[in-house]
Every structure is written in structure tokens, then in C-alpha cells.
């Protein structure tokens, strides 16, 4: 069960059970639907961008523990942050999940480092990246994206 405890770390289980910033955000300035056609999972990211700042962010939809926890952790990471920093974080997390080499400095990622266990489960990486791709799409003005 050692690999299992890598992927289902306490932080992941907690965010799956009690997702933060979950629900609709009616006054959002941009939003996007993310879809993983392999499993049918769907999630919607709502964002309020004011000037250069992501003032608020929420998500809703149905998905596995990995996709839910990833979305929940993402909202905590980017809420209140300048757009440039948010875009940087999207790149950083997607890199961490997909790069050949394990990132040298996981600690710098804070709670997001909990997602790195997914790296050992190639079939689940798209579950973890879905929220981040969807946020990227929302910020770029696209309303739909898929993991394919």
C-alpha cells in the first residue's frame, strides 16, 4: 500500500472530503468547463479577475478524489494572487505532474506538493491537471477545454 499512500495523502483525502471554494460564483468575470473525455469527469472553474488580480475563484462539478483535491488546492493557491503569479503556478504544477524528472524542490510548492504522488500513476495524471488546464482556459477567455 506504499504507493497508495503516496497518491492518497492526508491532504488529498481532506480536500476530497471537504473541497474548499466549492460551488458556483454567479458574479464571475470568466469561467470555463473542463472535461476529461476518458472518464467523463467534468468541472467548471469560476473566476473574478479585477485588474491584474484573481480576486475570487470557485469550482464545481463531479470528479475523482484527485481531480477534486487538485481543484480545491488550486483555489487556495491562486485566490488573491496577481495574474502573472497564477499563470506561473499553472505552469509549475503542470510541469511537476508531467516532467520526466521529479522536481528538485517540492517544498516550494507547499500543500500542492501532495499532488506529486500522482506522478507514479500515469493513468491518473490527467485527473490532477484538469483543474489547472481549465483555469488556464478561463483566464485566456476560452469557455471549454479538455484534457485531450
Amino acid at each position: 500500500m506504499s504507493e497508495l499512500s503516496e497518491i492518497y495523502q492526508e491532504i488529498i483525502l481532506d480536500h476530497n472530503k471537504r473541497p474548499r471554494n466549492f460551488g458556483e460564483l454567479p458574479e464571475s468575470t470568466c469561467s470555463a468547463d473542463g472535461h476529461n473525455p476518458l472518464c467523463g469527469d467534468e468541472l467548471t472553474i469560476y473566476v473574478i479577475v479585477d485588474g491584474d488580480t484573481v480576486c475570487d475563484i470557485r469550482f464545481e462539478g463531479q470528479g475523482c478524489a484527485i481531480s477534486k483535491a487538485s481543484a480545491s488546492l488550486m483555489t487556495l493557491k491562486v485566490k488573491g494572487k496577481p495574474l502573472a503569479e497564477v499563470k506561473e503556478a499553472i505552469l509549475e504544477v503542470c510541469d511537476m505532474l508531467t516532467a520526466q524528472e521529479e522536481p528538485a524542490d517540492l517544498d516550494a510548492l507547499g500543500d500542492l506538493a501532495a499532488l506529486s504522488g500522482v506522478r507514479q500513476f500515469p493513468m491518473r495524471i490527467k485527473c490532477a491537471t484538469l483543474a489547472w488546464h481549465t483555469l488556464k482556459a478561463a483566464l485566456e477567455g476560452n469557455t471549454k477545454t479538455t484534457t485531450e
Binding site: L13, D41, G63, R124
Partner: protein, 414 residues
């Protein structure tokens, strides 16, 4: 086909014929519950393919030398063997394709293109695999015919009253449906459907991909018009399957793909074509695959089919009872007539998480929409976890599945 008396079910002997069941995964034996996606292969099938490429390889239908003529004979023998296996009247009624998907596309693009037009109705069901939806949608976009859908009840059975009403209220030309649901295991009352469809003047196409691995199929007894199935779900190789139709249905149909083998004479003034089945087998076919299918039929017919079926049924009942004991687990698809396929969801964990956790236990199940998005929507889920059994599975393996599910429940702490 062997003529000696068929052997009764013998778990140990059967399992020893499937080399993959001896492999280790996660430090233990593999419990393979994804036969509905693709079934495992007996040694004799693997050896037939190996033998072809190492000793018998040649292209068919053209070469004069011995190897080519033997390959041609063996390929046509495969057609004959499979035709007999489904009790077709003649072997030339059976066309080799890549699988069920191509079989249905072939019929859509030949029979469908010739016969379905604006004003006509095609009847599908809510439980179809995407392979029996999308080929028709593609054609309907072009031809403008209407598609109606037979609904499914909460147990996952077809609503037969609604079927009859749809038949009455629409000019139905074709009913295309699955013999057995890949996602739920439901066995549809296809003989009754064929009878009613024929009485209404409609033809019937059956997607047999999930039926033929579980019980013997007799196309004459079913009295259907088209029957499609895949080799790899029937313990055979991938990339080969069959589409069957009666001779008089094939006769007026136009070609599908153009190329070598399917022609009589080619000229720039005009080309003429072979008759079915060669008309539909353009290019060099999957010869090794066809020979693998002969080996499949030889393998399966060694065994007494009813005793294999009885074992699978027992396994289904055993697993159903055990799974129902798992807290928060709900079985999706509780039809009275089912093959050994169980779809389920758990409040505690998403199907993907279940599949990952079970994988750590060496238990292989499927999670997702099973290429049945309309059916998943009917049940209000994005996907399910699915355990599908074959005759080589055992109760001890089912116990490992159940243990894994309890672990998942504990991990997610619900």
C-alpha cells in the same frame, strides 16, 4: 471443429490454458475483471498466431507458391469455422472486419447509405455503446433520417412497451441494438424484438460484442439481419472481428472501402467489384487474426458451453451478493437477465479512485463511462466501476475484489 465430446467446466484446467493468469502484479496473482473490455487469450490462440508468422506467413488470394495457397486456405477455413460457430447458413455470409465497430460502420455506410433516407426512422436504444450510435449519427447528418431511442427502465432493461409504441408511430427501417449491454450486463430480449421489428417491416442489427463471449449465438435462431462481434472480446486477437448478414442482404449492397482484392477488373473507364464477402475485404486482411479466430473456436468448442455458462452465472450471483454487503455500494443494472458483468458506484469513492485502489491489490476493473454516455446520464452518474467476469474467474478472486472495496471505504473514511 473438434468432434469429440465436449469437456465439462474445470476451473483449474481452464485457467492453466491462459498464460496471463499466471503472471504476477503488485507481487501477487492478477485478478482480471475487465474481460468485457478485452478478454484474455488461451495459449492455443497465441501459438496459432506465432506459428503463422514463424512458419506459414504469406499473403492470400494471389500467390501461386505453396505458402500462399496454404495461407489462403487457412484464411477461408477461418471464415467457415466462424460461420459454423454462429450457425450461419453459408460461410460467405461472414465478412472479416477489424471489430464490432468497423462491422457497424460497414453496415451504416453500405446498407444504411442505400436504404435510409429523410423521412425514415432508425431505432436505437439508450444502452447502446457509442459504436452503435455515432456511425448512425454521422450518416443521419448527411441523409436526414430520424433517430429514435428506446428508453431503459431503472433496472437497466429496455422498456418494451415504449419499443412497440415507437415501432408503431414511426416508419422504422432498422432497429440497431446491443444483444448484451457492455456497461450493465443486461441481456436484451432480442428474439422478441426481431419478431416485432420484422412484423413492422424493419430489419434488425445486433451488436453481439458482449453476448458471444458469454453464451452461444445462433444467428438463424435469432432471425436477425446483421450480427457484429469482435475477436478480442471472444478470447481472440485484437484487430479482427466479423459482420454477418444473410446472402440476399449482402447482394445489392455497394462497396465500402476500395482497394486490392475487392475488385473484379479495374480500368479508368470503370471498375467492377467482387461479391461479398471479398467485396468488403479490401487490402491485405488480418490473416494471422483470422487464424487466431479458428483457434478460438477450436478452443471454446472443446468445452461444454452450458457448463461454462453455469459457472459464470454462479460467479455473478456470488459477486452480486458479496458486493451488496459493501457499505454505500450501489449496483447499477439489476436486470433479470444478465451476463456476468457488474457495474457499481460507491458513495465513499469515485470509480477512478476505486480502480486505483483495487489495482494496488492486483485486481483489474474498469472505471468510467464504458463508451455509454447516454446510459450513464440516464442513471445520473458520470461513470461506474465495472467488474466483468469470464469463465476463468473464480470466487476467490471475487473475494479479493470485495476486500479491496472495503479497503477503499476505510481509506476514504465514510
Amino acid at each position: 471443429m473438434p468432434t469429440h465430446a465436449a469437456k465439462p467446466f474445470d476451473s483449474e484446467a481452464l485457467r492453466s490454458d491462459f498464460p496471463i493468469l499466471k503472471t504476477k502484479t503488485k507481487g501477487g496473482p492478477l485478478a482480471y475483471f475487465d474481460s468485457a473490455a478485452t478478454a484474455q487469450k488461451p495459449s492455443s490462440v497465441i501459438e496459432a498466431i506465432h506459428r503463422f508468422y514463424s512458419q506459414e506467413n504469406a499473403s492470400i488470394h494471389r500467390g501461386i507458391y505453396d505458402l500462399a495457397s496454404e495461407a489462403t486456405l487457412a484464411y477461408e477455413k477461418a471464415r467457415e469455422t466462424l460461420a459454423q460457430f454462429i450457425n450461419a447458413q453459408a460461410s460467405h455470409e461472414l465478412t472479416f472486419v477489424r471489430g464490432t465497430t468497423e462491422g457497424i460502420n460497414l453496415i451504416a455506410q453500405t446498407w444504411g447509405r442505400q436504404n435510409l433516407k429523410a423521412g425514415d426512422t432508425l431505432l436505437l436504444t439508450r444502452m447502446e455503446h457509442h459504436a452503435n450510435i455515432v456511425p448512425w449519427q454521422l450518416l443521419a447528418e448527411e441523409k436526414g433520417f430520424n433517430i429514435e431511442v428506446v428508453p431503459v427502465n431503472p433496472a437497466g432493461e429496455l422498456e418494451m412497451d415504449a419499443f412497440e409504441t415507437l415501432l408503431k408511430e414511426h416508419p422504422v427501417k432498422l432497429v440497431a441494438l446491443t444483444h448484451v449491454s457492455n456497461a450493465l450486463g443486461t441481456i436484451n430480449p432480442v428474439k422478441d424484438i426481431v419478431k416485432k421489428a420484422h412484423a413492422a417491416g424493419a430489419l434488425v442489427l445486433l451488436d453481439g460484442a458482449q453476448a458471444i463471449p458469454h453464451f452461444r449465438v445462433d444467428v438463424q435462431d435469432l432471425d436477425c439481419d446483421f450480427y457484429a462481434f469482435s475477436g478480442h472480446k471472444l478470447f481472440g486477437p485484437t484487430g479482427i472481428g466479423c459482420i454477418w448478414a444473410r446472402e440476399e442482404i449482402w447482394k445489392p449492397l455497394p462497396p465500402y472501402q476500395g482497394g486490392g482484392a475487392m475488385i473484379q477488373r479495374v480500368s479508368f473507364e470503370g471498375t467492377t467489384y467482387q461479391d461479398a464477402p471479398v467485396r468488403y475485404e479490401a487490402g491485405t486482411p488480418h490473416i494471422a487474426g483470422a487464424l487466431g479466430m479458428t483457434a478460438v473456436v477450436d478452443y471454446l468448442t472443446q468445452w461444454d458451453a452450458s457448463s461454462l455458462e453455469a459457472h459464470e452465472h454462479k460467479l455473478l450471483e456470488y459477486a452480486t451478493a458479496k458486493l451488496q454487503e459493501v457499505p454505500t455500494l450501489k449496483i447499477i443494472g439489476t436486470a433479470k437477465e444478465k451476463v456476468s458483468v457488474i457495474s457499481f458506484v460507491m458513495d465513499a469513492a469515485h470509480p477512478h479512485d476505486l480502480a486505483t485502489i483495487l489495482n494496488e491489490e492486483g485486481v483489474a476493473i474498469r472505471a468510467g463511462h464504458h463508451c455509454c454516455m447516454p446510459l450513464m446520464r440516464h442513471f445520473g452518474v458520470a461513470g461506474t466501476a465495472r467488474a466483468s467476469f469470464a469463465f476463468y474467474n473464480t470466487e476467490a478472486e471475487v473475494d479479493r475484489l470485495v476486500t479491496g472495496l472495503h479497503k477503499a471505504k476505510d481509506l476514504f473514511n465514510v
